[in-house]
Each structure stands twice: as structure tokens, then as C-alpha cells.
């Protein structure tokens, strides 16, 4: 079999994509909870800035010329060669920079609590901006790999959709872990069951389309996950622990709630989302020539 692509480290880019999704959809969850004035919603704000900063740390750690980044980005913006509408990597640099600034102000609003900051951050337009940038960061993290034509397994429209679903599951898991109380948990559990079901269908669709599609490389990637060298991590870790068990706990919790069980389901769902990204990256292979 063709070697897995060893260009992007799955253990650096996987966590980057995961944390970007958590920060992105977590921002959406924060705005929704803040608008409903749910008790303790502020706790979510403290988790989002570390998530996006850690995402940046992971992605920069994978660069082979990190020292050249500030100068190169500045030169390309000034020189008119920056890929604003051409490259998903460039779009991501812009979105994550904007997201970091927005989340920094959000965190400062609770730490410093200056009246100007409170007015700005609590305004409707700031909330709308946070939601839009959050969703775009999550979608971008999917398009980043989907728009790489060298790796056919990634080169599918399903990836951004799957990333969006899985990042939404992560945001709900974060809410479950940070704000466990009555009505919110009931709502979160119901949404979680729906999103995890959709995630499971999307994961199975990704594997099936690749197994029976036209690309040799995509088939090799799907085979590695379905019954090859990555099958144990895929079925046991991602599907079993990361999706099916949280889904089963969610279904049970709809009737009878247990704080320990929902917390365990949230942790497993977060691990599942991380495994999903690492495994999809790891399974990537180039199309054999000829």
C-alpha cells in the first residue's frame, strides 16, 4: 500500500483542527447561552481563548519555517500576493487572527470588566460577529484539508460538514462539562443525541463513498480505517468510544439524568472528535502514479 502522507503531522494538525472547531462552535454556544442568560454561561468564555491560542500553538509547531511567518505574511499582504480568496490557508490565517482578537476581548470583559469593554462585548453586533467568525473558523478547518487535491480521501465535500457536526458536538460537550444544571442539560442532551447521530451517519458515509468511489487512493485510505492498520483506533476509539457510547448515554440520559454519566459522555465525545481528525489525517495517501 502507498505510504500514509507524512507531510502534515496528524498529532499536530489533528489537535489544531479540533481546537479550532472547539473555539469556533464554542463561540456560537457562548452567544446562545448568553442571550438566554443561562446561569454560569460566563465559564464558557474562559475556555474559548485558551482553545484558540492552543490551536495556534499546534499549527505553528507544524510549520517548517515559523520564523519567516510574520515577515512573509506582511510582505504578501503589502505586495498583493496574499491569497485572501484563493487559499483556505490564507482565509484561515485571517479568520483565526480575527477570532483570537474577539475571544481576547471576550475574556478581558470578564477579567477587567471595564464599562467600555462590557458595552462592546455585550452588544448584539459583537455576538453576531462572534457567531459568524466561529462558524467560519469551523468550516474553514474542514475546507483546509478538503481543498487539498493531492489527497483524494480528504478531497470531499463531506469533510467540512462532518467537521461542523463534530465541532458542534464538542461545543455541547463543553457546555455539559462547564454548566451542568437542569433545563440546560436536558436541552444539550437532546441536541447532542441528534448531532452525534448525524456525525455517525457522516462518518459512515465518508468511509463508504471512499470504499466504493473511483479513486484508488481514497479507497486505500478507507480500507486502512475500515479493516486495515487504523481499524482498531477507528472502530474502537472513534466509532465506539467517541460516538456510539456518548450517543447511548445521551439516549439513556433523556429519560434519567446522571451527572457522572453525562460528564463521561462529554469527555468521550471530545476525545472522539480529536480521534476523528487525527485518523482522517493519518489515513491520507496520494494517488498512485500512474
Amino acid at each position: 500500500m502507498t505510504a500514509f502522507q507524512e507531510i502534515w503531522s496528524p498529532y499536530l494538525i489533528g489537535p489544531f483542527l479540533w481546537l479550532a472547531g472547539i473555539a469556533g462552535m464554542g463561540s456560537v454556544a457562548y452567544v446562545m447561552l448568553a442571550r438566554q442568560r443561562v446561569e454560569g454561561y460566563q465559564r464558557l468564555a474562559y475556555a474559548l481563548l485558551p482553545a484558540i491560542v492552543l490551536a495556534l500553538v499546534f499549527v505553528v509547531a507544524d510549520l517548517s519555517r515559523p520564523w519567516n511567518m510574520p515577515g512573509a505574511i506582511l510582505s504578501s499582504i503589502l505586495g498583493g500576493t496574499f491569497g485572501w480568496v484563493r487559499s483556505w490557508m490564507a482565509v484561515g490565517i485571517a479568520l483565526i487572527s480575527l477570532g483570537t482578537v474577539l475571544l481576547l476581548f471576550l475574556t478581558l470583559r470578564y477579567i477587567a470588566a471595564s464599562s467600555v469593554l462590557v458595552r462592546i462585548v455585550d452588544s448584539t453586533w459583537y455576538g453576531v460577529l462572534l457567531v459568524v467568525v466561529g462558524v467560519l473558523i469551523t468550516i474553514y478547518s474542514g475546507f483546509l484539508i478538503a481543498a487539498a487535491p493531492g489527497i483524494p480521501f480528504w478531497n470531499t465535500a463531506l469533510i467540512p460538514v462532518l467537521w461542523l457536526l463534530s465541532a458542534s458536538v464538542c461545543a455541547l460537550a463543553l457546555v455539559e462539562l462547564l454548566l451542568h444544571h437542569g433545563d440546560v442539560t436536558r436541552q444539550v442532551v437532546r441536541m447532542g443525541v441528534a448531532l452525534e447521530s448525524a456525525e455517525l451517519i457522516a462518518v459512515m458515509a465518508l468511509i463508504n463513498l471512499a470504499l466504493y468511489g473511483g479513486s484508488t487512493a481514497a479507497r486505500l485510505s478507507a480500507q486502512a480505517l475500515a479493516y486495515g492498520s487504523l481499524a482498531a483506533a477507528f472502530w474502537g476509539g472513534l466509532v465506539g468510544l467517541g460516538v456510539v457510547i456518548p450517543l447511548a448515554i445521551g439516549i439513556v440520559s433523556m429519560k434519567r439524568q446522571s451527572r457522572a454519566l453525562t460528564a463521561a459522555a462529554a469527555v468521550l465525545a471530545l476525545i472522539g472528535a480529536l480521534l476523528l481528525r487525527i485518523l482522517v489525517l493519518q489515513a491520507g495517501v496520494f494517488e498512485p502514479i500512474p
Binding site: 510549520l63 505574511i73 504578501s76 487535491p149 496520494f286 502514479i289
Partner: protein
């Protein structure tokens, strides 16, 4: 308009590896440094052996200088660009080492130079200066079997245009829509 391109004649190639060694010598100072991306030596030409099928086959794969190059499209800073001569080139000063170009290239034609952090590919600096001076790239110049050609596709009298006019050729992974300019001659 100029559209410089490479030709490799599979039917004439004797698999001596002179082109690979010459690329290593000219562009990377005969270094013994390992090209970890390909598990190969520091050279812009990759040897791909095809063992499936009725008989073994050899392919020499390198940057295809695509007219519709994915590496150029995905580069966030414009470090990878298509020059007016039709060749895909890299501006090191704009490269941040994100390696997006490497995963975008369906031909896996780029490799990571761990010393500089730059994605390397055909053509190397020495070959580019040779071409600028009106000379052939080293792989073409050293081939003992005349299996290689280089030149302007838009000039009907160029070496490559004349060879293509009288040969059967293929282009690799044409279905990817990259419009590659690396022609593999498979027979007269």
C-alpha cells in the same frame, strides 16, 4: 507567450539514474542529506517503480509545472507562483513552511528540505539559472539516451515541440485537471 515544459521518453530511458544524480549534484551540491519525504536522496526527480500488471515499469516523476497548479492555488502567501515562462517557481522569502503546497500536489512532486524548511521541487536554483542563460536543465543535458527534452511548447520549432509532434505521449493523472506540462513519451 512562453510555456516551458519537460519531456521524458519512457521508451528510450535506460534507467541509468544519471538525471537523478545530476540533479542532486547541480542543485544540492552532491549532498548525501536524506530527502525524508520520499525516502530518497536530495534530488527533484523521483523514481517510481510499478510492479503491478503484466511487466514491471519505471516512471520518473518530478514537478509537472502545471498550467493549473494546485500548489499555486493553495499557497497562502504567493510563495509558489507560475512565472511568465510557464514554470512553477518558489519565492523562499514568502514561504512560511505550511506545506500546503506539498499536500495539494497530486504528483507528490515536492519534498521538504529539513535544513532550510523549504519545499523543494524541480527546478532547482542551478537549473533555473541554466535555463535563464539559454541552457538545458542538467537532467536533459546529461541523459545518455536522449530520453529527455525541454523547451517552449508554444514554439513549434523547439526540441520538445518537435519530439511531441512525432511521438505518442501521455500526461500523468490528467483527470485531476491540473494541465500538467510533463510529457511522458510512450512510443513513436
Amino acid at each position: 507567450m512562453t510555456r516551458l515544459a519537460h519531456l521524458w521518453d519512457q521508451s528510450r530511458c535506460i534507467a541509468c539514474g544519471a538525471c537523478i544524480a545530476a540533479c542532486n549534484a547541480a542543485n544540492y551540491g552532491s549532498t548525501g542529506r536524506v530527502n525524508k519525504t520520499w525516502g530518497w536522496l536530495a534530488s527533484n526527480i523521483k523514481r517510481v517503480e510499478l510492479v503491478r500488471g503484466p511487466r514491471p515499469m519505471l516512471f520518473l516523476v518530478q514537478c509537472q509545472h502545471c498550467d493549473n497548479a494546485p500548489c499555486v492555488a493553495v499557497c497562502p502567501t504567493g510563495a509558489s507562483y507560475r512565472d511568465v515562462d510557464g514554470l512553477v517557481k518558489i519565492k523562499p522569502e514568502l514561504c512560511i513552511g505550511c506545506k500546503y503546497c506539498m499536500v495539494a500536489c497530486p504528483y507528490e512532486a515536492r519534498w521538504l528540505d529539513e535544513e532550510s524548511g523549504l519545499p523543494r521541487k524541480c527546478m532547482g536554483e542551478e537549473c533555473l539559472s541554466r535555463v535563464k542563460a539559454g541552457l538545458e536543465p542538467v537532467c536533459v543535458a546529461v541523459c545518455p539516451a536522449g530520453a529527455r527534452a525541454f523547451g517552449d511548447l508554444d514554439d513549434p520549432n523547439s526540441a520538445i515541440s518537435r519530439r511531441l509532434a512525432q511521438s505518442r505521449y501521455i500526461r500523468l493523472l490528467e483527470g485531476k485537471g491540473t494541465e500538467p506540462k510533463y510529457f511522458v513519451v510512450v512510443g513513436p
